[in-house]
Symmetry: C2
Amino acid sequence: MMNMHNNIPIYGVILAGGWGTRFWPLSRSQYPKQVLRLLGSESMLQSTVKRLLPRIPPERLAVVTNASQAELIHQELHRKGWDGVRIWVEPQGRNTAAAVGLAAVTLEEEVREGIMAVFPADHFIRDQASLLRGLDVGANWAQAGCLVTFGIPPTRPETGYGYIKQGAPLDDQGRACRVARFIEKPPLAQAQEFLADGCYSWNSGIFLFRPDVVLDACSRYLPDLCRELDRMRHPENQASLEEIYQRLPSISFDHGILEKAENVVVVPVEMGWNDVGTWEALHDLFPRDGRGNVKEGRVLDQHSQECIFWAQNRLVATIGLENTIVVDTPDATLVCHRDRAQEVKDLVTELHRQQLVESVHHTTVERPWGRYTVTDEGPGFKVKRIVVDSGKKLSLQVHQRRAEHWVVVSGTAQVTVGQELRLVSSNQSVYIPPKTPHRLENPTIEPLQIVEVQTGDYLEEDDIMRLDDDYWHPDKA
Amino acid sequence: MMNMHNNIPIYGVILAGGWGTRFWPLSRSQYPKQVLRLLGSESMLQSTVKRLLPRIPPERLAVVTNASQAELIHQELHRKGWDGVRIWVEPQGRNTAAAVGLAAVTLEEEVREGIMAVFPADHFIRDQASLLRGLDVGANWAQAGCLVTFGIPPTRPETGYGYIKQGAPLDDQGRACRVARFIEKPPLAQAQEFLADGCYSWNSGIFLFRPDVVLDACSRYLPDLCRELDRMRHPENQASLEEIYQRLPSISFDHGILEKAENVVVVPVEMGWNDVGTWEALHDLFPRDGRGNVKEGRVLDQHSQECIFWAQNRLVATIGLENTIVVDTPDATLVCHRDRAQEVKDLVTELHRQQLVESVHHTTVERPWGRYTVTDEGPGFKVKRIVVDSGKKLSLQVHQRRAEHWVVVSGTAQVTVGQELRLVSSNQSVYIPPKTPHRLENPTIEPLQIVEVQTGDYLEEDDIMRLDDDYWHPDKA
């Protein structure tokens, strides 16, 4: 029998490339599900990192994401002091086989003595200790040359997940088994059989293996992917990662490799797992009132049953609803029958097709120096509230076509306008003419809050030239 | 047979004292249903006046309302140039018998040769010509000493209305009948009988009578009301209208007088009437899509059926709902099952109990000079967008505890600050320190739009001292 506790080095790869369309309107393409704070004060990504830290130090962790999310991911890690966590930016999303392949090629030199473990960035796991115990069990089998998956003992006949049928146990206690087969989302009757049978697990999307083992499987089952990945090994090709990615097949790791490979092992781990796939998941994760409703934020309900009401500062009043999801954000509201929670994805496709800004970002946008909220706009003007965190500054910048009026409403700003540098206190204002270099800083220990009124004939975010900038951008990585 | 067309002078009394709680969140206590623009560009009140004008000139029209709505009612009339319409302000709402009594006492001297007609301010009538024909028929019977009601031939077994059973016809064509009896909101089976029977009408709330006749009925059936009204006849009591009103019984005109009187006549008038009592009414009044949904504003729906979706500028996305009402406003959203539309009233009672501002006014407040919208607020600051109509000016005013920064975003302002008077153009700003008299005017023919940032430790509307003011207030009436 193998040791459960071991010292095998584990390198963690967190896949954070999606945006969780089914959590619209809370998720947006520029504010993906993994940075949502659905469950407490930490984002899904932060919770994912945090629960691994007892076993995997930050310098052995990497997040795979795409260019448009990289800065946000960096902020999330930076806020927790996890700057040692690496961020690998895919030029475009090509599904999980490509992301795992990228990680394996990148780690293969470094991970001579250990294994790599792949985690989704946006799942919920209640029982950290069980996860960590499972990692040790899985690491042993991974080091022995297996492709290891984590299976979740099912608690309901879920038809939205993939299932794994366990084969012969590999130890006395059944802590690991061979995989007999994978079954894609089954119909209800079959899911009920699986639940009753006891030999089936949900596929959690957590995998462990040696880089060389997974690359070997890749060369066997996805030779096209493998050939392209191979080009990444040659430094002269680094510049053409974008070109390589364009040619990668878009296929999931499960479907492209695991389902075909022989040496696949499942470690069943009961750990309070939930993939938080749709709004429907919140009905399981959150406390409910006496009529089965989940309520968050300013909700006033009369006589509703089995609903999910998710509000923020605006008032949401509900009367006599059943099995209905209501999600309110400052610029968009979703009202959806619970049986249709999957279809939020189609809705977002439609928003995207209509090029509606509500699919892209929120009215409040997080920035490395704080955040801004567009509070009002109309022809020729836009109003923002800007919060600058203590000690932070925006870039030194110029706008060609807009003027800005800044009114400090709390704290003290250090403001550069042209050649002039001055302190501006609460209830004072500054005018920034077009074409004038300017910078906003908060030199104090208190937060700084200003109201900015922009005027001009063109007020988009791309009218900005940054002359000097403190912050991390993907191209600086 | 009496003449259908006649020259009997008709004095119109429009009852506009309620606030239409069942239309929350579109109606608010300070923005009642009668000023909503549900059906086109005119408010319910404006439509009510307009459809009477061919028969009743403005100087024979009066609106009965309460102090908190009087200014708004004045604006609604003024915008249409109907300044001749009188506004009678009740110190408090005491139901319709009191309002009708007040009107009768006020008109009794003036209406020696004619009759008075009472109309709700917030009903929809599609067929104006039928209404006007009905008025002539009813005026004849009113002048002859009857209490006349308008009955609406029912089109469905509605359980939310009062019914009138028609008795003996008073002319050959059945254009007027004696009233056999009044029936309050009947159970469904009875409503179905009434519909099938053909001798029942809905009670429309439109009444015609001579002031002396109704006051006579009042003295017989509501002697308490009559005694108090009598005190109004003596000018020395004018100052104590408030005190008189406190003692008036709160009872409806139907219940307190009509149901008891002998000389009651019903004029059945088919005129496309709808009392627009709840959101449910919109399902009848508005065009529906192929799945039976009424949609207004920025609504993106997938697969819903028989719903009412009422949005404004924010995006409302809906999936797979049935018989659901969704009403979105800038600060509050209602989601309600259609069968529960009546219960919006209870919800508003609860909002009121919790003293939530969302029951009182909108983020946008109409003013005689234009309007303002609170677009953002937080500790120590508030941001408004202010629109001043061409040629209008705000009062000359002083605030004790707040400073204001004004940025003109379109048009040109004439600004008084202390002793100084100057023109401020688009993209310029002005600072108003606390305790400094100031005034904002729009001397141009273009609308003026400014963004106002208030700062200070107290930012409520009551920190205002008006030194000079152009506009009508109830106490100037």
